[in-house]
């Protein structure tokens, strides 16, 4: 009993700090993550949290300018952003010049190449190796379709698979040996250790954006060969061996991930290079100075500012936010339950302002929409003009501003087209005639479609449409009910069919759905990455692609075909306008909104500008540990009296009974 009391006192004495106190003086970023990364293999990883971790360790040839918008590519591992070079016969080549003298972070795997070595220089063949891995079927990269544009890359993957299947023992060879024996890739030319030329069969200017994504990160073959899961070594997707500003110090991904500053990073070793990807920018957008992201202690300084990044798994939003409020996380999303307390009318509440916090708002390059299944006989293309008018009418009955107000605390801007702000082809002045609430016009259109007052003449009852969703939560049910009520005012009977994820996938596979709610966030900032969602070759039911609306229109396809691989010129802008005009009246989608992120940031964290793309940003962040330690101490003094009060209460409760018992015993 005495021991238990002593233990309890000891525990009470240490308070609610979830970190050992020794971290207080270090420049550490504390940040929560809501689900563990699936993989750190740069050629495979596609989830935001995967990229959050690995993009600090692996680097890419190109990156985005941290402050400029629209997004602008800058050289990272290379000396310059390459220009396309047209080849005879329709091909295009890009020559990347690597900076010499870039070394990998220390890792035991390099002993495979040179006995005793713990690091080596980054060379062009590492870039080629990374790209070859995309084609390797055993790696399972999700982006081969894009990189198959590199001449001979897909064929390389097929040769590799064939040899593995036919030659016994081939698959057991070391990975670099397998790739060597499978033969070279014509479109990957390494002419010297620092120069790689890639050759595409046809023009595809967006390829450069892909070189700012982790998929194209150079990978040392030693890491893939060494981390094979044998002899207690982890698998390659569970480690990170790169050249970046941080290194993976701890990877208990189901509770804690720690990234330490890499003292050997080329940006640290060569500040004299003033490389754009290793220096905080000195110029930005007009309002950046007012946001404080161009303050003198940031602008022009060498990166990174942090010593360490501590990531903790927080599956539930409420405890994560509570710890943020205690100062144990430096930034936080705002859970719905706490929204009214923190933000009012798009501004920070006085309580939060008094704590020195800032509110960061950023429109993500994404779009949420309702899609019609265009191969459905009622709402889709087979219904011809009737279907089109029905879709137009339904589009006119969706009140997005009210939807945003009720469900998202106004976090989002109503969408007029699939293309979000910040992306070429987005016109802030454009107003889609079918994307505002107009019930009168909607009723008229419905009548023209033959559904007078929403009645289906075939059944004599309100027209029944099913709204299919894999989301069975109460929150989304309420959201969908809001939309359904809008259509009910036209007399339509839209029925929510919320099923399990697996059943929903079944319906999609069979084309047995009518209306669905979906979202898309850009991989790279190009209109092609949005409009391809409506390209007939990507039709979901036919080919399993992301065109879940199964929209198929030769006019749109022709426009898309011409615009997809063009530079951003006047012709491309005109093509996009034409494509959007077509979507405007065809209405395969009811565009809802472009999502807006609100994040709370403590006053001691600087250098934040939301990016909205899966790119490394933490190297730009700066933290003031003294201010943080002070705030934590002030905000977290334990309240001890209830413990004493409780103990007293229990004693008082037991005392009369004990007194009676002792009296009786004596008697």
């Amino acid at each position: 009993m005495r021991l238990a009391a002593a233990l309890a006192l000891l525990a009470l004495a240490c308070g609610n700090n979830p970190y050992p106190g020794a971290d207080d003086a270090l420049r550490v970023l504390y940040t929560p993550y809501s689900e563990p990364p699936k993989t750190l293999d740069p050629q495979v990883a596609y989830a935001t949290v995967d990229h959050d971790v690995l993009s600090n360790v692996y680097e890419t040839l190109l990156e985005y300018h941290y402050l400029h918008r629209p997004y602008e590519l800058i050289p990272a591992l290379v000396t310059a952003v390459p220009e396309p070079r047209r080849l005879d016969g329709g091909g295009v080549a890009y020559a990347f010049e690597l900076r010499p003298g870039i070394a990998y972070g220390a890792d035991p795997c390099f002993a495979l190449g040179t006995p005793g070595a713990t690091s080596r220089e980054l060379v062009a063949s590492d870039v080629a190796f990374g790209l070859q891995r995309i084609a390797d079927p055993a790696v399972g990269s999700p982006v081969l379709v894009t990189f198959a544009k590199i001449r001979g890359l897909a064929a390389f993957g097929e040769r590799l698979a064939q040899r593995r299947a036919e030659q016994p023992g081939f698959a057991a060879l070391r990975i670099d040996e397998q790739y060597r024996r499978a033969g070279p890739v014509e479109g990957l030319r390494v002419s010297d250790p620092h120069r790689l030329e890639i050759v595409l069969d046809a023009p595809y200017p967006q390829i450069l954006y892909w070189f700012a994504m982790p998929f194209t990160s150079p990978v040392p073959w030693e890491a893939v060969a060494w981390y094979d899961g044998a002899a207690g070594r982890p698998l390659f997707p569970e480690v990170a061996v790169g050249t970046g500003p941080f290194r993976l110090a701890r990877y208990d991904k189901r509770s804690r991930i720690v990234l330490d500053r890499n003292p050997d990073w080329w940006g640290v070793r060569h500040p004299e290079w003033k490389a754009p990807a290793a220096t905080y920018p000195s110029d930005g957008e007009p309002d950046d100075a007012a946001r404080g992201v161009l303050d003198p202690h940031l602008a022009g300084h060498p990166l990174p500012f942090l010593d360490r990044i501590e990531m903790r798994l927080e599956k539930e939003t409420i405890p994560a936010f509570a710890k943020f409020m205690q100062g144990y996380y430096d930034r936080s999303a705002i859970p719905k339950e706490s929204f009214d307390r923190t933000v009012s009318e798009g501004r920070l509440s006085p309580e939060m302002e008094a704590r020195g916090m800032r509110l960061e708002r950023a429109v993500r390059p994404g779009v949420y929409y309702l899609g019609f299944n265009m191969i459905d006989p009622v709402v889709g293309a087979p219904a011809g003009e009737r279907g089109r008018k029905l879709r137009q009418a339904m589009s006119l009955a969706v009140d997005v501003p009210e939807f945003l107000r009720v469900f998202l605390n106004r976090r989002g801007i109503p969408a007029q087209s699939p293309i979000p702000p910040g992306i070429f082809g987005h016109d802030p002045e454009y107003r889609n005639p079918y994307r505002s609430l107009d019930l009168e016009r909607a009723r008229a259109l419905l009548a023209e479609a033959g559904y007078q007052g929403g009645f289906d003449p075939a059944t004599g009852r309100p027209l029944r449409i099913s709204f299919d969703t894999p989301d069975t939560t109460v929150q989304s049910r309420l959201r969908f009910q809001f939309l359904i009520d809008g259509w009910k005012r036209l007399g339509l009977d839209v029925e929510l069919a919320a099923t399990s994820y697996n059943q929903f996938r079944d319906k999609v596979r069979n084309g047995a759905y009518q209306l669905f709610f979906w979202g898309w966030v850009a991989d790279y900032p190009d209109p092609e990455n949005f409009l391809f969602l409506l390209w007939s070759e990507m039709a979901q039911t036919k080919s399993g692609g992301p065109n879940t609306a199964n929209f198929s229109d030769p006019r749109f396809d022709a426009l898309f075909h011409e615009l997809k691989d063009r530079e951003n010129d006047a012709r491309r802008a005109a093509l996009i306008r034409e494509a959007l005009a077509l979507l405007e009246s065809e209405r395969p989608w009811i565009e809802l909104f472009h999502p807006e992120d609100y994040a709370l940031v403590h006053g001691w964290l600087d250098g934040l500008k939301p990016m909205g793309l899966p790119v490394p940003v933490w190297k730009y962040y700066a933290v003031e540990p003294e201010a943080r330690a002070e705030a934590r101490a002030a905000w977290n003094r334990p309240v001890r009296w209830p413990a004493y009060a409780l103990a007293g209460l229990a004693a008082a409760g037991l005392a009369p009974a004990l007194a009676t018992w002792r009296r009786e015993r004596r008697a």
């Binding site: 233990l7 308070g15 609610n16 409020m325 697996n502 992301p546 009974a657 018992w661």
Partner: protein, 321 residues
Amino acid sequence: MTAWLARRLLWGAATVLGVLGFLFVLFFATADPEDIAKRALGEKAPPEAVAQWIANHGYDRPRVWNPADPTDTMLFEHYRRMLAFDFGRSDADDVPIAQRLRAGVGVSLSLTVPLFLLGIPLALGASLLVAFFRETYIDRAGVVLAVVAMSVSILIYILAGQYVVGVLLRWFPISGFDIDPAVVARFLALPVGVGLLHGLGSDVRFYRTVFVEETSRDYVRTAFAKGAGDGRVMARHVLPNAMLPILTHEVVRIPGLFTGALLLESFFGIPGLGSMTVDAINANDFATLRVMVYVGALLFIAAQIATDVAYTVADPRVRLG
């Protein structure tokens, strides 16, 4: 005894085989290999990558029957792997499941063992006290409190505990975990406290009934008549005689110690086997889920046999055969 044990083991084996088959049928009745792949790769994965993933993970085999080679089916492979304890890799992220189990079991035990070991004396002590003072205000207040305590969902305890102790009083971290011995106690204090409080209600109700029944028996009166003190009667006479229901109640909990506390682990961010199971369900991770179910079934059957054996120790009148 030997014959009895052999019979029980045989029944246990049949049960485990049944559980494995049932799991296979249930899982694949609602999920397709393509669904597992899409979850692992993300919604944006192109169909080629999905097909490749399915092939890499062996889900391209026929499910139950393959006329060309009856051993080349998913069901056969499922049984072969489980019976050989070859757990393979997680469908969600390809981490070896055995490694996951090893990492998670220690974490789960660090939560569940204190919960179990502190819970028994606490529940027994409280029930002995209440039973001893029966028909007084302590008994009545104890029963009311116990009924109230057992009627409230554990989620309420968790959320209220986090808010009151973590946010208002600031005694312990709201949630989180770190196996580092310097800080592990402060992370476990709150979940263990919440778990104890939640378990106490029903345990006290149950044990009080047991003890009250025992204290009204003749041997208790005899013991008092011999002049034994109150403490001695309760601890030496009543407690051992009430051992049978206590054993039944507590031993079946032991397998649960290894498989973890689902809700406590999930809400307090403790990366044990309980939260691993929840994650596997959410991620359509068949490979991990079947291992958890298999291990859970094996432990449960072992615990059942152990309970029966423990009866013979606690009560010499019980014979197995």
